[in-house]
């Protein structure tokens, strides 16, 4: 089981929880498991066969879009962070 951090915008779907657990050897499996536990997350996290454009998924602090995307491996000890895309740059 890996720990998944849930941003405020998605906590309605997790009953208010900011950290949940999910299982999977890679990001695709982990998100599938997460969405089966919290069906309300489904439509927000994935668009077609891709991570939804306004969602960033990080494994051990790195955005999986610059790793192997949905195929990025996840270890049991990994923390996975979900974040909304936010404008930075002051």
């Amino acid at each position: 089981m890996s720990v998944v951090r849930i941003p405020p915008a998605l906590r309605d779907a997790t009953g208010g929880e900011s950290r949940v657990v999910a299982d999977g050897a890679n990001v695709r499996e982990l998100l599938d498991d997460l969405m089966s536990r919290f069906p309300g997350l489904g439509p927000q996290l994935v668009a077609g066969d891709e991570i939804a454009p306004f969602v960033n998924v990080y494994v051990e602090g790195e955005d999986v879009r610059t790793l192997d995307g949905l195929e990025t491996p996840v270890r049991e000890s990994s923390t996975v962070i979900l974040l909304p895309a936010m404008a930075g740059g002051h």
């Binding site: 941003p7 939804a52 306004f54 955005d63 879009r65 895309a85 930075g88």
Partner: protein
């Protein structure tokens, strides 16, 4: 490069050509893995945004889009606004900045001292809220010219022609470029320029891990990806906690004597992490600004950095 023996016709001529200084005390193997810092805090208003502001204004003037009588409007919680305020002043335009109401006090103070007007957006909506509010204002009144750094190709172009070219000219080898991810301008522009000279360069983004308070978006549809940012062109994208950013600031100050801002601390944190993955090579860290504008923040002494910092988007 301007020195004490030369004169400049305008402060705007002093934008760019910033120093690149080695940080041997921050490398795990300084003889084999060299880390260099590009000191963007030495630009005239103290940040990398001077490059972007000047380029956006000059290109808009050249296109005939920005003419006397129009006023500048930009969503910014600081550095871009201050940079635009200088350029606007010397070129004779008025400037209004839209910024989150939880930005540090120095930010509004310095903008007003430069002569800019400030309009506040709800702090809990972070930069996204300021962007939305500015876009709505620009739509209502055609007097506004919004440079809009998030979507203006002059932003990455400033870094392609300036920041990136300067680094490529100064070094024979660059293996890793690290810059803060905000609009994506530095990473896209300098990254593209460095890839021309050093095809295998790793372009790495340091990205802030926001606290819950500043993620008060109602839904993910309120999210925003700057149009100039193409994440596919990044090789690494690394989240940095506020605590690690402050650790980077402290390392820079205590070991190399460089007083840097929050995003620079994050960039150094990532630069050291990626340097640690190399047996040999050259890492360049772009330090966007200095620490002065953050003095009123609590994190310099606060024991619980995360708690004291989580209510603000720091870059």
């Amino acid at each position: 490069m301007a020195t004490s023996t030369t004169t400049s016709a305008s402060l705007l001529d002093l934008i760019g050509r910033t120093p690149l200084v080695e940080l041997p005390r921050l490398s795990h193997a300084p003889d084999r893995v060299r880390i260099f810092a590009k000191l963007e805090g030495q630009n005239p208003t103290g940040s990398i945004k001077d490059r972007v502001a000047l380029k956006m204004i000059e290109e808009a003037e050249a296109r005939g889009e920005l003419v006397p009588g129009r006023e500048l409007l930009e969503p910014t919680s600081g550095n871009t606004g201050i940079a635009l305020a200088l350029v606007a002043k010397l070129k004779g335009y008025r400037l209004t900045c839209v910024m989150p109401d939880n930005a540090t006090k120095e930010r509004t103070q310095v903008l007003r001292l430069y002569g800019a007007d400030v309009v506040f957006s709800p702090g809990e909506q972070g930069s996204n809220g300021a962007v939305r509010q500015a876009l709505a204002m620009a739509e209502r009144d055609p007097k506004w010219f919004m440079p809009f750094q998030y979507a203006n190709e002059a932003n990455p172009r400033a870094h392609y022609e300036g920041t990136g070219a300067e680094i490529a000219d100064a070094l024979d080898r660059v293996d890793v470029l690290v810059a803060g991810l905000g609009t994506g301008g530095t990473l896209m522009g300098a990254g593209a320029r460095l890839r021309e000279s050093f095809p295998d360069v790793v372009v790495a983004a340091a990205e802030p891990l926001p606290g819950d308070f500043v993620m008060g978006l109602r839904s993910l549809e309120d999210g925003y990806v700057p149009p100039i940012l193409d994440v596919a062109k990044l090789d690494r994208k690394v989240l940095v906690s506020n605590e690690d950013s402050v650790g980077g600031i402290r390392d820079l100050l205590e070991r190399e004597g460089i007083f840097a801002g929050v995003s620079a601390g994050a960039v150094v944190h990532v630069a050291r992490k990626l340097a640690g993955e190399l047996d040999e090579g050259v890492v360049v860290a772009v330090l966007a600004d200095a620490g002065w504008k953050y003095l009123s923040a609590d994190f310099w002494t606060a024991r619980d950095v995360e708690e004291s910092m989580e209510k603000t988007v720091w870059w």
